[in-house]
Symmetry: C2
Subunit: 393 residues, 2 copies
């Protein structure tokens, strides 16, 4: 029986993880949960799963939850809050496996704490590896803790890498759906609306990641994540645009063999894979091979999607640059979603922030968070000048 | 340094194997060779590779070779012949790895001898596994000898199976190019000419295997081979038609993940893989991922390609039936290539031979060869009635 701690239990990955636990009660049980501000869902999860600890974002929310649990006669759940709360959840002694699915850098400390506590970590939080990949992988090596990717691309790579040794990998090929603007002419990028950008062709996801898929910055973050997770140089990570999102990624070996992974586009599959690794567990998440039909692949266009180039540059520099890339993008995407800046100002904002970012290799999570905060501040300033001013571009 | 014995050294697989040995002189060297009737090429191979033993089909051919070697001042090569000769080659004490690439059942005894002698065997000879798969795999288990497939589909499966445990495999998907008649309407099958049938869309191969690709009987033999090699039931082996022959096969795991292998269509790659397994060795046999373009997949048509159904039926029955399937096909294809029977008489001949084959599970190679001989005799009789008589069909 594996006991699971979930960082981000009320989000999409958290709920998918709970669905997997619900399907395999003989294999998994909930140890502890960390949510954000959604007290209603957190309460329901406490009633259903009886975690030993439930963390919420603030003291007030935790108190409100505690009160409702007492009224409902639910006992034995410790309610905690804030960063210290998430750290308590991820370091729960009972937990064997920690799902790191808090979006953004908010989950960083708890993810680091899980590694330090010797837990196996399932990484759904891309930012953790982008912002603190060097620190997390060093800690994981030291503690001999596996970091298992539970996003579809890196999970695919993890699977394909089992067909050889790490030293036998020549390069990786991340697939990208290409987003909604794969075929849009460059001249029309200036007029992209929020509504258009939120329509992802194959995956239903959160708002930021959907915009990141439209700019291909999301693929850029995945390039950096892949460098860290698999200890490869940025030049060994390639991208191929694959509109059907059926092949989740490829691993190319030194002998010329290429392994690929295919499955339904359902996050429960990589979650199940990571939670049961090194075993595989029977599931009904079956891909219908008769539906394979036609698969297309084409090289990405760096001119229409400059975020891809920016990500490679940040990956090459390492240290502060991937942190700044991620932070600046989050601010720029917020500004775009708020209708404050045009779509094409997203890469412009990121580029200006990166240019102003000094070379710096943080050694602690605290230093990472400082660089992150500074980059956000810089991004707010840079974004401001693109406000309602597409003429500037 | 691995020492290699090659059964079928002057054929296409044999020459590709020698090319690999030529490219990696620090890893591989030739121990012994077995050829058929081509004394000229056998002589050249003796001069270049200095095998300890060279076997030819007959005593006369071996004597002729011996004479030429003496004239050329090439010493230290023992010339042998016949089945005993091939057995001597495969059991050479120096050999670590035996490439089994003699076409047809002629290579059976030598392949079995290699397993008995504890050599690692690379199987390019499909018929060995089809006709004597049960005997060979039992012997390999007993001697703890790996049987490594070096045809592209099973080699792909071998690679994909490294991403999980044997018990975690739900089914295999063999890719088939579909051959030249993939889109030919059923009513036109009666008029297929030898010339049309010899035009394979993606691979350049021998005459029998090219016709077998046109009838899909080749894929049928591969289904049986896969059952034996990977110890799976016929219902766990599926076929998907993939005209580009880029994906060489798929393994579907119980969790729903599907692994696929892609590479250039060059037999040197699976040969190199098998010879260097469990390592992978750097090669320039690189697949250009930018050329991936479009891949298509569709279910096979059992009506136009009855050989596929016949193969599944023979696989289910096991024992004598796969032997008879292979033997009858070889005779029927010969008759078709000689212009004696029409294309559609190939499956008809096989079906009639299978119907007349008694249930029988041979325990020795000698018994296999008897069943094979009887089935050939039966096939000759059955084929005769289709001679110049498409009206009968």
């Amino acid at each position: 029986m594996k006991q699971i701690a979930i960082l981000g239990s009320t989000g999409s990955i958290g709920q998918s993880t709970l669905d997997i636990i619900r399907r395999y009660p003989e294999r998994f049980r909930v140890a502890s949960l960390a949510a954000g501000r959604n007290v209603d869902v957190a309460f329901e999860q406490c009633v259903e799963w009886r975690p030993r600890i439930m963390s919420l974002a603030t003291e007030e929310l935790a108190a409100a939850l505690s009160k409702r649990l007492i009224s409902a006669g639910v006992t034995g759940i410790e309610t905690v809050h804030g960063t210290a709360g998430t750290v308590q959840v991820s370091a729960t002694p009972e937990a064997d496996f920690v799902v790191s699915a808090i979006v953004g850098v908010a989950g960083l400390e708890a993810t680091y704490a899980a590694v330090q506590a010797g837990k196996t970590v399932g990484l759904a939080n891309k930012e953790a590896m982008v912002a603190a990949g060097e620190i997390l992988t060093a800690a994981a090596r030291e503690k001999n803790v596996p970091l298992l990717p539970i996003d579809s691309e890196h999970n695919a790579i993890h699977q394909c890498m089992r067909a050889g040794e790490k030293r036998e990998v020549r390069r990786l090929w991340l697939t990208a759906s290409g987003g909604p603007f794969r075929n849009l002419p460059l001249r029309d990028f200036a007029n992209i609306t929020v509504e258009q950008a939120l329509k992802h062709p194959t995956w239903v996801m959160g708002r930021r990641i959907t915009i990141d898929s439209a700019t291909l910055l999301n693929k850029g973050l995945e390039i950096i994540e892949a460098c860290r997770l698999f200890n490869l140089s940025p030049s060994a990570i390639k991208v191929t645009v694959h509109p059907q999102s059926t092949v989740h990624s490829f691993v190319e070996y030194i002998d010329g063999s290429i392994l690929a992974q295919i499955s339904v586009t359902d996050m429960r599959l990589p979650i199940l894979y990571a939670m049961s690794y090194p075993e595989r567990v029977e599931s009904d998440l079956t891909f219908d091979m008769a539906s394979l039909g036609q698969l297309n692949f084409e090289p990405p266009d760096f001119e229409r999607f400059p975020c891809l180039r920016l990500a490679y540059e940040a990956a090459e520099k390492g240290g502060a640059h991937p942190i700044a890339l991620n932070a600046a993008d989050e601010i720029a995407v917020e500004a775009f979603l708020a209708g404050n800046i045009p779509f094409i100002a997203i890469p412009r904002t990121i580029e200006e922030v990166l240019e102003a970012t000094p070379e710096n290799h943080p050694a602690t999570i605290a230093e990472v968070l400082t660089i992150d905060r500074d980059a956000r501040e810089a991004a707010r300033n840079k974004a401001r000048k693109f406000t309602h001013a597409s003429a500037v571009l």
